[in-house]
C-alpha cells in the first residue's frame, strides 16, 4: 500500500515537471539559505574544546583605574587582559591542572639558506603548559621542559607549515633556527592544528591561524620583546627600560587555567582574591574585588566572536525559510486542488481520507527531500561564498550532522507546508467532482 502511495505521489510529481521543479527550487532555496547561516553561526559559536567545556578558564582580574572602570559601558567587567606581573604570579601556584600566561609578538626569522630573505614570523610567548592546556597535537618532539621555561632557554616549538618551510617537513627536533640575534633549538613540531575560532587569543583576528613559532615566555625579559596584540594602559609610566613595561599597569597578557574539580575552582578563586588583597596592601587593586575565572563559552561571548550582523542574518534566513514554506503551501494547495476530480474518482474507488492525505503528504515529503538535498548543495556553495567573502575558514564539513539537520529541516518544512494542502484535498467531497461538469 505504502509503495502504491509512493508511486502515485511520484506520478503526480512527474505529471507536471515544471511545477514540481518550481516547488523544489523554492524549498531548496529556503533550506539552502537557512542551513548556510545556521551552519555559519553554529560553527562560529561552537565550543572550541567541547571536552574541556567546563574546565578551561580565562582569568580576568580587575587591576584597573580606581576612578573608572575598564569600560564605561561594562562597569562590572574586569579588564580583558592582565598585567605581566599579575599574570606571572597567578600562574605560578599549583592549584590548576594546567596553566599558562602568554602574548603574541612578531619576530624576525633569519633562514640559514642565504637565498631566503629574513621574514617576520608570528610568535607566541607562553609556558610549556600551553600545549597540554589546549591539547596541541605534535608531529615530532613535544613541548619544551619545565627547566627550559624556568631558565628561559632558547628552545622553540614550530607549527607544521613553518617546519615545512624551514626544514622541508622533516623531523627537525634538535636542529636550530635563528630568530632575531639568537639561535634556538627546535623542541617540537606541531601537527596541523587550527582551532576555530582561535579561542586562546581572539584579540586581533579570532579566525587567523595559530602562531608559527612558540617560545618560552620568560625570554621576553632578556630579548625585550614587545607584544603585537592589543594592549591598554590606564596609568602612565616612565619607560626607560623594558623591565618598566613588565612592572607597569599595562594590560597585554592572556592567562588561562584548567580547573578540573569544584575544589580546584573554589581554591583558585580564593587564591586570586587573596593575591589581589595582598596587592592592595601595596597600593594596587584599589577597585572592588572583581576577579573572574571565566568559562571559555562566556569569554567567547564577551569577545563577540559571533558578530551582531550574523544574528540578524540568522533571523532573516529563518524567516526566509518561512517565506519559502508559505510559498510551498500556496503552490501545493493549488496543485492539489487542481486535481480534485481525480481525488473524487479515487475516493469513489475506495481510497479513504487517510489514504488520500498520506498520498499527498508523501508527495510533499518527496519534494522536501529533493529540495533538501538541493538545498544542502546550495548551502555548501553559500558557506564557500561566506568563507571567501569574509576570508575565514569555517572548517565546516558536509557531515552526517549537517546533512541530517538539513534534511530534517527540509522534511519538517515539507510536513508543515504539506499538512494543510493535504488536509484540504482529503476533505474534498467526492460526489461533487464526479458529476458531469
Amino acid at each position: 500500500m505504502f509503495s502504491y502511495l509512493l508511486l502515485t505521489a511520484w506520478r503526480s510529481l512527474k505529471r507536471n515537471p515544471f511545477l514540481s521543479l518550481l516547488v523544489v527550487v523554492g524549498i531548496a532555496l529556503g533550506i539552502g539559505v537557512s542551513t548556510t547561516f545556521v551552519t555559519a553561526v553554529y560553527r562560529l559559536s561552537l565550543h572550541p574544546v567541547p571536552e574541556k567545556e567546563d574546565r578551561l578558564f580565562y582569568v580576568r582580574m580587575d587591576s584597573w583605574n580606581p576612578e573608572r572602570p575598564w569600560r564605561d559601558s561594562l562597569p562590572d567587567d574586569p579588564p580583558d587582559q592582565m598585567t605581566w606581573r599579575d599574570a606571572l604570579e597567578v600562574t605560578s601556584g599549583d592549584i590548576p591542572t594546567h596553566q599558562t600566561f602568554m602574548y603574541k609578538a612578531e619576530l624576525t626569522v633569519h633562514p640559514e639558506d642565504k637565498d631566503m630573505r629574513p621574514f617576520r614570523a608570528s610568535t607566541r610567548l607562553c609556558t610549556n603548559d600551553f600545549f597540554a592546556l589546549f591539547e596541541v597535537p605534535f608531529q615530532y618532539g613535544g613541548p619544551w621542559s619545565n627547566a627550559a621555561d624556568a631558565a628561559a632557554e632558547q628552545v622553540l616549538v614550530l607549527d607544521h607549515a613553518t617546519n615545512a618551510k624551514m626544514f622541508g617537513g622533516e623531523d627537525s627536533v634538535g636542529r636550530t633556527l635563528r630568530i632575531e640575534d639568537r639561535e634556538f633549538m627546535v623542541a617540537g613540531v606541531m601537527a596541523p592544528w587550527r582551532p576555530i575560532p582561535k579561542y586562546y587569543d581572539t584579540h586581533n583576528n579570532p579566525f587567523e591561524d595559530p602562531e608559527e613559532i612558540f617560545l618560552p615566555i620568560l625570554l621576553s625579559e632578556s630579548m625585550e620583546i614587545n607584544g603585537a596584540g592589543n594592549d591598554s594602559n590606564w596609568k602612565g609610566y616612565e619607560r626607560n627600560e623594558y623591565a618598566d613595561t613588565l612592572a607597569s599597569e599595562r594590560i597585554w597578557i592572556q592567562t588561562w587555567v584548567q580547573l578540573d574539580t569544584q575544589r580546584q575552582k573554589d581554591d583558585y578563586a580564593a587564591f586570586l582574591d587573596a593575591y589581589a588583597l595582598d596587592q592592595r596592601k601595596m597600593g594596587r587593586f584599589e577597585r572592588p574585588l572583581n576577579n573572574w575565572t571565566q568559562e571559555t563559552a562566556a569569554w567567547m561571548r564577551d569577545q563577540h566572536i559571533v558578530p551582531a550582523e550574523a544574528k540578524t542574518l540568522l533571523i532573516i534566513s529563518l524567516l526566509f525559510l518561512v517565506v519559502c514554506s508559505v510559498n510551498l503551501i500556496g503552490i501545493l494547495l493549488g496543485k492539489f486542488l487542481a486535481r480534485a476530480p481525480e481525488i473524487g474518482v479515487r475516493r469513489a474507488l475506495g481510497a479513504s481520507r487517510g489514504t488520500i492525505f498520506m498520498q499527498h503528504l508523501l508527495e510533499c515529503e518527496i519534494i522536501a527531500a529533493v529540495g533538501g538535498l538541493a538545498g544542502l548543495g546550495l548551502s555548501v556553495l553559500g558557506l564557500w561564498t561566506i568563507e571567501a567573502l569574509f576570508v575565514i575558514d569555517l572548517n565546516f564539513k558536509l557531515d552526517l550532522n549537517m546533512v541530517g539537520a538539513g534534511m530534517l529541516l527540509a522534511l519538517v518544512a515539507g510536513l508543515l507546508a504539506g499538512t494543510y494542502p493535504a488536509y484540504r484535498v482529503c476533505r474534498i467531497p467526492p460526489a461533487q467532482y464526479l458529476k458531469a461538469q
Binding site: 500500500m1 469513489a348 467531497p429 467526492p430 464526479l434
Partner: protein, 239 residues
Amino acid sequence: MLEMKNISKVYRTEHVETHALSELTVTVEAGSFVAVMGPSGCGKTTFLNTAGLLDTFDTGTYHLDGQDVSKLKDREMSRIRNEKIGFIFQTFNLIPDLNVFDNVDVPLRYRGMPAGARRQAIQESLDIVGLSSRLKHLPSQLSGGQQQRVAIARALAGTPRLILADEPTGNLDSAMANDIMDLLEKINETGTTVIMVTHDPELANRAHRQIHLLDGRQIDLEMDEPVPLAGDRAATVGE
C-alpha cells in the same frame, strides 16, 4: 441488497435549501437490475451517491448488504466502496495520466492485493469488456465507448456486489449505448446487482425494474402509464 428508509438529504447554500432527497424509501433485491429515472434535478445522482456511500444523508436509515451503514466512519465506508461497490459515471472519470492497466488497477491497489492477483483480475475484467489488447493506452487515446468500457472494467475488477452507474450511456451514441447495456446485462447475469440511472426509456425497459424519482421522492407508476418527460413536472405531480 440495498434498503433505504426515509432518507432525506438537504443541500444548503447561502440562499437556498434544496431538498435533493426527501423521505426516500427504496429497496433493491440482490441480483436485480434496476433503472432509476426521473426528470433532471430530481435527485437521481444524489440517490446514487448516497447509495454508493460517496455522500452522506441527513436522516433515515440505510442498510447495505444487511449492514447498517448510516453511521460508519470514513475508513469503513471507503472499504465498502472499495470491496462491494463499483461506480460507472456518465463522464467515465478515468484518471487521465494513468494508462488502461493502471486505471483498472486503482481499486485493487487500495485493497492491498498482491501483484499477481491484481494482474489476473485486471486481465479478466478487461477481457470481459473486450479491451485486453489496449493495456498501455492512455484514456485520451481511446474513443468514448472504449473509455466507458475501461471504466466498467475498473468497476468490475474488484468483483463488487453492487454496480452503480450514473447515466453510463449519456455521452455515447445509441449503438455504443446498446453495447454498454449488453455489457451491464452480462454483468448482472453473474449475480451482480446493478443500479443504473438513465434518461433513455428504451434502455430502462431492459431493466428488471424501474424506480421513478420526482423531487427527491419515489413515485409509483403503473408500468403502462407513460414515463414522465424530463422537466415536465406538471404532467406527473399527482400528489
